[in-house]
């Protein structure tokens, strides 16, 4: 499959195109990691992709044959482009995490399909030399397993984030999952140790492996709760990277390899960073059952909840010097980011300094909140990370917590038995006054009680974030 043996101008141009594409991917990813260059970085990576695709279509040769079925390929690409473009343009910003998950699943599926199709065609020479136990078969099977798991897992993650699928939490799940995982590994070994003349004889086994992997992908994501979803998406993202890299191995295709390995490793480190921000270990996310059993310690320690009227809240805010807003997913769900920005503009006009404290895992993915607030035109400088805002909180007159819960829960600092103990939080309780906007007394995703709500300085404002904020804006205007 990798016939670089004889030199030809076309092949050299193809390889040079791949090198350029790889460099563009690396530069693109690098630039994506800085706010000012991010958009150009995305553009560069896309340019690299176009270059790699066009070069492959025109110049790729396998055993001396150029790419055939060009008409069909172009038709397929046209369909994919049309669908992808429309979905990507239309979907709401709050639905971003599931969208990323969806597109990720498509990549995983493509990788699995490639493996499925290449399986019967393992190089005859290799088969003669070492039977099924050769590198190509390994790459194909790994691509098949990881790609299918990524596809099935991403689809489930998509369904969960979209609210179509609930969690399935049974204690036995983790043993079932580990058993299936062991079975998959055993099966890969089984296939590779078969003594056959051609891999095509074992195609049915590859199909079974594909099916089992899909089942595993589904079961793997099913028990994972909402708060851990970003971690899972990020993990599946790196899975797809690895699965696609297997294709790169198979075709000795450098552009596929560099691009995908980069994504695989970057995705893995991003996953670990996210876990760290939530004080969870990756293993816990994968096999543990989150929340559920955690709500023990604080239950009795309650206290009284004090409510505040919208008018009082408006007065309090208007006469403050420094206000910090802590937005959470509740704000996003209520689509309240625009009205929230209206409130902060009104307050700024009155000379109040307003900032947004963004917890690393606020929203459904790290950075999700920033995207949502940016959509509402909140200036970049007003967004501060929690580490930065914490030292200044004792001088803050009012902190408004909107639809956030776990990220301000003092249990993370006080209660060693809490499942979120050790997670960095926004130390809301240090502010002079605390206003918490919530729909009701429900618990956060970690399903644990939040002592902040019972704090003496805390006043609750119950109701839908959007209508409450609207009422608040009206009151502030009327003052």
């Amino acid at each position: 499959m990798n016939d670089l043996t004889q030199f030809s101008a076309g092949l050299s141009v193809l390889e040079i195109s791949y090198i350029i594409a790889s460099v563009l991917f690396i530069l693109g990813l690098k630039m994506l990691s800085h706010p000012l260059t991010a958009r150009r970085g995305n553009f560069l990576a896309a340019a690299g992709m176009v270059l790699a695709i066009v070069a492959t279509l025109l110049l790729h040769k396998q055993d001396g044959n150029p790419i055939g079925n060009i008409g069909w390929i172009l038709a397929a690409m046209a369909i994919g482009t049309a669908i992808g473009w429309v979905i990507a343009r239309r979907v709401k910003m709050t639905a971003m995490p599931q969208l990323v998950s969806f597109f990720n699943g498509m990549g995983g599926a493509a990788a699995a399909l490639i493996s499925l199709m290449e399986f019967p065609h393992v190089n005859q020479e290799l088969m003669m030399k070492s039977g099924m136990a050769n590198g190509h078969v390994l790459a194909i099977l790994l691509g098949l397993v990881i790609g299918s798991v990524s596809w099935a897992g991403s689809m489930i993650a998509f369904g969960k984030l979209d609210g179509r699928i609930g969690d399935l939490r049974v204690k036995a799940m983790k043993y079932v999952n580990l058993t299936i995982l062991a079975a998959i590994i055993g099966f890969v070994v089984y296939i590779m140790t078969r003594d056959v003349a051609a891999s095509a004889e074992l195609t049915h086994l590859a199909v079974i492996l594909f099916i089992v992997s899909v089942v595993y992908g589904v079961l793997f994501v099913m028990p994972i709760g909402g708060a851990d979803m970003p971690v899972v998406i990020s993990l599946l993202n790196s899975f797809t990277g690895v699965a696609a890299a297997m294709g790169g191995f198979l075709y000795s295709n450098q552009a596929m390899l560099t691009g995908c390995i980069l994504v695989g490793s970057a995705g893995t480190i991003l996953t670990i960073l996210m876990c760290r921000a939530m004080n969870r270990s990756l293993l816990n996310v994968i096999i543990g059952v989150f929340g559920g059993g955690g709500a023990t310690a604080v239950a009795g320690a309650g206290g009284t909840i004090k409510e505040v009227s919208v008018t009082d809240a408006a007065v309090l805010l208007s006469y403050s010097k420094k206000v910090v807003i802590v937005p959470g997913y509740g704000l996003a769900v209520a689509q309240a980011q625009h009205i929230c920005h209206e409130l902060d503009k009104l307050l700024e006009e009155k000379g109040v300094e307003v900032r947004y404290a963004i917890h690393p895992v606020a929203g459904r993915m790290p950075g999700h909140m920033n995207v949502l607030l940016a959509e509402a035109d909140v200036p970049y400088e007003q967004l501060v990370e929690s580490d930065e805002v914490n030292p200044d909180l004792p001088n803050t007159d009012v902190i408004i917590v909107i639809g956030a819960n776990d990220v301000v829960n003092p249990a993370a600092e006080d209660d060693p038995s809490s499942p979120i103990f050790g997670m960095p939080i926004v130390r809301a309780r240090e502010a002079k006054n605390i206003i918490v906007m919530k729909r009701g007394m429900g618990k956060g995703y970690a399903a644990i009680e939040n002592m902040l709500f019972f704090n003496d300085k805390t006043r609750m404002l119950f109701g839908d974030a959007k209508s409450t904020l609207q009422a608040l804006v009206n009151e502030v205007k009327a003052l």
Binding site: N69, A88, G241, G259, T268, A374
Partner: protein
Amino acid sequence: MEGILEFFMANRGTIYMVILSIFLGIEMISHVPAILHTPLMSGANAIHGVVIIGAIIVMGHAETAGAMILGFLAVVLGTLNVVGGFVVTDRMLEMFKKKK
């Protein structure tokens, strides 16, 4: 086993590259501000859409009707990944850019 070792020997250069790419990836992501995590994940998601090249190769050499159908599907899905990924990333970043 021997086959696998041979594969490693034959692909030494590739394996070096893979290892260096892994470090490069880790190095790059470690310095990213949290606010860019979502666009970055999305951008990375688009980049692994390069799997479409594999889909094109497979489709380009498909002979049976079954292979044609699967290949067609693989190209469609790969394109979805690439186009959707880049467009969505651009849409997110566009919002950051509107104001200085």
